[in-house]
């Protein structure tokens, strides 16, 4: 008890605004060429103004409700809960328009871009969900969109490529490096240097140079804020014992954690075993920010390998590195086999086909409940970040 005030103080200060240099503890920052510094500053200024402007907030709230379908449901997973001896609540981002949480962030950034007078959105994408969300927002707001996507991901996620093109976006294949998400980030960044006048770089996760990690978390905190309110009516204790989300760059997790960081809930981020920057990474600088990054002993960035294209990222958002260092959040990993099994189990027990990315969170809950790491009767909020339609051909190949 003696420590309680100190703990409260730490909690209250967590997931607040980063320092003026964009630091979360020792992580974050703005490691971009001098050429891009003014563009990042312009985004930061515009975001600060917009976020403090009730008219902007009202516009965004109306789009989130009337267009994206928020609030998303909180669904008790009855049968799986019974099997596992816990109470599992699913925050249903798979029900949001375009099929994942990515739309929350993109609607915010696209409105911001339009307010800044930009006419074109640039985006990177891995699984294609952020690309689809960006193409969608561009269509809605009458803007152009160019999406950079690794050649390997284009092959793995053909459905989403076609969706983006249907929505009028230009999809640019990236053939450099590992031809996945990290390379599409490089390419989007390179392209932005030459297009800052009319183009806005719409980053898809809590990564990139300041203010992106902070801004994207703020646009995603709607997940956690809604879930907090929903848990208060659903759970006798109002707050779950555990809050669990999958982590690629970490945006659905950051948005979810933001709603619970000041509570007693344990925060768990689940990374792909083949792309676990928190577990296997070392401190480094990639894509404009300092964080934990998978790299070899020479400092060359390593390739991530996951069955889920959206988690094939060698870094993690800087705020997660900070929360992990503080011990406020814990980061764990699951392997591809458990993930595929979790997709099947959730589908059969609840009638919900989730994305391979989201299934990482499900897989950890199953494993932890079965091993006793999650005590019997524990209450768990799990953010189901997206739906599985895009993964059907990959799952068919594995079947």
């Amino acid at each position: 008890m003696r420590d309680a005030p100190a703990v409260d103080r730490i909690r209250a200060g967590q997931m607040a605004e980063p320092s003026t240099a964009g630091r979360f503890g020792g992580f974050g920052g703005r490691f971009v060429p001098e050429s891009l510094v003014p563009a990042c500053q312009e985004v930061e200024r515009a975001f600060r103004e917009a976020w403090a402007d009730p008219r902007f907030r009202g516009q965004l709230d109306r789009l989130l409700a009337g267009y994206a379908g928020r609030p998303t449901a909180l669904t008790p997973a009855w049968r799986l809960s019974g099997d596992l001896g816990i109470t599992l609540l699913l925050k249903r981002e798979d029900l949001a328009h375009t099929g994942s949480h990515k739309i929350n962030n993109v609607l915010g950034q696209a409105l911001l871009a339009r307010r800044m007078g930009k006419t074109r959105l640039i985006a990177e994408t891995g699984a294609g969900q952020h690309g689809v969300a960006t193409a969608t927002a561009a269509a809605l707001l009458g803007m152009r969109a160019t999406v950079f996507m690794g050649q390997r991901d284009i092959e793995r996620q053909a459905l989403n490529v076609f969706r983006m093109e249907m929505l009028g976006a230009e999809v640019v294949p990236v053939t450099s490096g590992s031809r996945t998400l990290k390379d599409s980030c490089n390419e989007a960044m390179r392209h932005w240097v030459g297009a800052v006048e009319d183009s806005y770089y719409c980053i898809g996760s809590v990564m990139g140079p300041h203010p992106y990690p902070w801004m994207v978390r703020e646009f995603q905190r709607v997940i956690g804020d809604e879930a907090r309110t929903q848990c208060a009516t659903e759970l006798p204790a109002a707050v779950p014992d555990y809050v669990v989300a999958c982590v690629g760059g970490g945006s659905n997790a950051a948005g979810t954690f933001a709603g619970f960081v000041d509570t007693s809930a344990r925060l768990i981020g689940v990374e792909a075993a083949g792309g676990a920057a928190m577990t296997d990474g070392a401190v480094g600088v990639l894509h404009g920010f300092r964080s934990r990054v998978l790299q070899d002993d020479q400092g060359q960035i390593a390739e991530a390998h996951s069955v889920a294209a959206g988690l094939d990222y060698p870094g993690i958002g800087p705020e997660h590195a900070h929360l992990g260092e503080l011990g406020r959040a814990t980061y764990v990993t699951v392997g591809d086999d458990e993930v595929v099994a979790a997709v099947h189990r959730l589908a059969r027990s609840e009638g919900i086909l989730c994305a391979l990315e989201s299934a990482h969170a499900v897989a950890w809950v199953i494993r932890a409940a079965e091993s006793g790491e999650l005590p019997p009767g524990a209450t768990v909020l799990l953010t189901l970040s997206g739906r599985g339609d895009k993964d059907m051909s990959a799952l068919m190949e594995l079947a």
């Binding site: 240099a21 920052g29 703005r30 490691f31 971009v32 060429p33 001098e34 050429s35 891009l36 510094v37 003014p38 563009a39 450099s176 490096g177 990290k182 390379d183 490089n186 960044m189 390179r190 240097v193 030459g194 800052v196 480094g284 600088v285 990639l286 894509h287 404009g288 990054v293 790299q295 020479q298 400092g299 060359q300 960035i301």
Partner: protein, 256 residues
Amino acid sequence: MTLETHLRAVREGGRTALVPYVTGGITESWTDLLAAYEAAGADAIEIGLPFSDPMLDGVTIQEASDRSLARGTTVESILSDLAGISVGIPLIAMTYANLALRDGFCARLRAAGVVALVVPDVPLDEVSDLERSAAAAGVELVLLAAPSTPPAKLPEIATRSRGFLYAISRMGTTGEAGELAESATVLADAIRNATDLPVLVGFGVSTPAHAVHAARHADGVVVASTLMRALLDGATPSEVGARVAAMRTALDTMAP
């Protein structure tokens, strides 16, 4: 003698500084290029320490970096290659933050005879840590300015830059260009208004004519992609050296 003193002396001698680039480890015999550049009349040489994710490089330097890394090149291997040779002009390393911010990096450069360092993804606002370790190791940390840099920021960049100030010619990545961007000369003029530190223009300086054009507004040029393109396409070190020699001749014979 520091790089800055050297480049000031070049300027006072009425000469334009010519700084060709090579991706370290790109071929087995890459250090032959250093000798070829020196013989061609280079005033300093920029050596790229290849990084897997070069954010500010276009396709040519990306390809050069990939080829070098695929050969198993490391910072260590490049620096030990340098230990075996002697070059009579200053060597400048160019690499990215993830390599440059590793413990002991600047000291290792200095021990291998590299006197200066350019790190394009560490802008002024993030430079403090690197500035300290470079200064402690006796490495001159060269800062960059871009066409988008507000003129009001140039004096501070100039004050904190060591060696020279690197003027990024255009809003884009490295890469060969048909013409030298208009923004190159505008930026070089603005920098010269702000400082008397030597100003070198880089990015897209691809021909002797580009070099001459830049030299009317700056103290020198950095030439990279056009040389690496030739090398990747099969040119020998002496053929690549001949391109540098052609630029030297054009710069030395340009009308004042």
